[in-house]
Symmetry: C2
Subunit: 411 residues, 2 copies
């Protein structure tokens, strides 16, 4: 991917002219970028895909792979996914699986299905910017879902939603190694989200894009698994699970899935029939081939590779960042989340960083539905090679130090 | 594709229980189907696709083909398409081309962009059912666009739209070898659509899915070409052209395009970023490979093949259909359109035809926004082999004859 494009998306609250200037700089080869939230293309299972497409197109199924398909998706892939969901504690069958063109399409469809203008969506501060963009098309209001605890009662959420002219319709969250914060919710936090949603009578959208990429610590059950256990099975669940092959196999095929009660799947199928008929047949078949043969090995390889990059990034920050700068230790995923001292604006820092330190990252404010979090930033470590870590982090740290020193001197 | 699925879509106004019964029958191998509006998979350029995917995945661009992409689409494909549009009389560049996941996605996005609940969309009677399904999500009212002439003035259209609480926002039509009617608009009819749309201040959505498949007669310029000629260039045009590779190369890759003024492309890019990020990278690159090397030869081959099937179908109807049954002679595309004597319901005929004649087709009422056209039906000839023509048509004709005879006897 062209990383400048992702960057443009995620800085959408910056001034357009400012972004254009920065984009020009980002194309320069000496810029070290921690900005793009993308997997390392060097780790894609290219040979497995080459074999899959060759087998498909030279075999008796070539015609079907190039032809129209049913809107719900390729049945063998849906069956395989139902099996995987079973391993995660979600007993279900292919009728509970709906294939999407990436999990982004799942978020768009769920927004279309549940949100009317003025309705309320509960999201974390910060949350995945792509979810806000998908939901924004349906003109919701956002309120803050705070898994760390907060004093908002279900009644207070409902009253605020009613005052805004709608109802609370959904809670959206990335419970494992979130984009952008890298944070993971405990089992108790997940149960609390289910409790709140049950009291409000809303659905929970569980975005599990990074779930398979755990580098340390113990796995926490998906919210959907906890929901099935308490509600008696997937057909009674209120949770809708959005999965993706983008971070494990490859994003360029645009294959994701939704696991949900059949009543939801049936509605999504009708929506997809009207919106794009179906996701590409050939890519679904290729993903099924590769997943059946190489999914687990690919996950293991990615975990080894990305864990090492995470550790290198965290080590470099530990060595170089000035006092007052904090960051988390993500147990998996692709992102570390940095908090600067209050009053330091990460968007302003980015403008200087690209010009002076030649380092790029994503300022955190864009991930906050209320525009807060101006002193936060996201660092992606999936593309962080030795040079990025050994040169980029110290350069960024030195810039931050100089900003803090100048502030102290002015004070 | 599973033809039963298409069938389910296109008979959506039939009772669900009735459809389920018919679907069971359609799976039986002795049913001859003229129902599915799909290309013949035996004619897909399988070898060219096998070569393209192999070259891409074994070459230095494999990583990019599997990675995220810019939302507007793969630049070399957009450049190639701009060149093709130029040959059709539409001078433009890659900035006027937006890649969609099939032209169905183009229709969905254009509905989302232009239609608010209560607005009016002008469509022909009959029109493409998929367009009605795409637009329905945005809750428009439909009024009749009648290229054969009618006495509705622009003011009458506008007044009716205002009385319904909205404005006329778009005219949608398939000017070449339409789905379902097979009809083609003359240059004068296209100019009249532009005149009407100019008076109403609306856009024209030109669905050109079948345009390349002309079997006889002289090519008529696209509406967009006529618009560019009168308005001084694409940036001043009101016409948005939706193209598709589905009928020429393969539908299973889901690659189509929109050719439009840049101001429209820019809005669609933002919409796509929020809705599914981008169409699959690898498929766009594969389509570009195959299009550059084999597009013209593929079109020529399809024209020869489908022309022969059209001629065989028309000949068989001429030989077997009873008096009172009329049909057109489509100059291209995939469909012939049959009109039964008034009072014969094609949906009821279908139910008997599947059971007794073992022949399937699509009843015409579903293609009419007002539910009229009950005595019409669509026959697709793309899959009409010798058996379909030599056995299916006589069986259907015999059934229709018996229905007409019974009616005469009862009168």
């Amino acid at each position: 991917m062209n990383p400048t494009d992702l960057f443009a998306t995620r800085s959408s609250r910056m001034r357009a002219s400012e972004i254009r200037e920065l984009l020009k700089l980002l194309d320069q080869p000496d810029i070290i970028s921690f900005a793009g939230g993308i997997p390392d293309p060097a780790l894609f299972p290219k040979a497995a895909f080459a074999e899959a497409y060759a087998e498909i197109l030279q075999g008796p199924g070539a015609g079907a792979a190039l032809q129209y398909q049913v809107s719900e998706g390729y049945l063998p892939l849906r069956r395989w996914l139902a099996g995987e969901m079973g391993k995660l504690g979600v007993p279900c069958d292919a009728g509970n699986i709906f294939i999407t063109s990436g999990s982004q399409q799942g978020l768009d469809y769920l927004g279309k299905l549940f949100l009317s203008p003025g309705d309320t969506a509960l999201v974390t501060w910060p949350t995945y910017l792509g979810a806000l963009q998908a939901f924004n098309a349906y003109e919701p209001r956002y309120d803050r879902l705070n898994p760390d605890g907060g004093n908002t009662t279900p009644a207070a959420y409902a009253d605020a939603a009613a005052a805004a002219g709608g109802r609370v319709k959904l809670s959206y969250l990335v419970p494992d190694f979130a984009n952008p914060s890298g944070a993971t919710l405990s089992k108790a936090q997940r149960e609390a989200v289910l409790d709140l949603s049950a009291e409000l009578g809303t659905v929970v959208i569980e975005d599990a894009a990074y779930r398979a990429l755990r580098y340390e610590g113990e796995s926490v059950p998906p919210i959907l698994a906890l929901d099935c256990a308490r509600s008696g099975g997937i057909e009674n669940a209120r949770t809708i699970y959005c999965g993706s092959f983008s971070k494990i196999l490859a994003p360029g095929l645009r294959v994701g899935w939704i696991c949900a009660p059949r009543v939801v799947v049936d509605k999504l199928v009708l929506m997809k029939q009207a919106a794009d008929l179906h996701s590409p047949s050939i890519n679904q078949i290729a993903i099924a081939h590769v997943a059946e043969r190489a999914y687990d090995a690919q996950v293991s390889m990615l975990i080894e590779s990305y864990r090492a990059r995470r550790d290198a990034l965290l080590g470099a920050m530990e060595a170089a960042m000035p006092a007052g700068v904090a960051w988390n230790r993500p147990e998996g995923g692709m992102f570390a989340w940095v908090t600067l001292p209050e009053g330091i604006d990460a968007a302003e820092l980015l403008a200087r960083s690209v010009r002076e330190a030649r380092v790029a990252f994503v300022p955190g404010a864009a991930f906050h539905a209320d525009g807060s979090g101006r002193n936060t930033l996201r660092l992606s470590f999936t593309l962080a090679d030795a040079r990025a870590v050994n040169e980029g982090v110290p350069r960024l740290a030195a810039l931050i130090s100089s900003v803090l020193d100048a502030r102290s001197a002015a004070a």
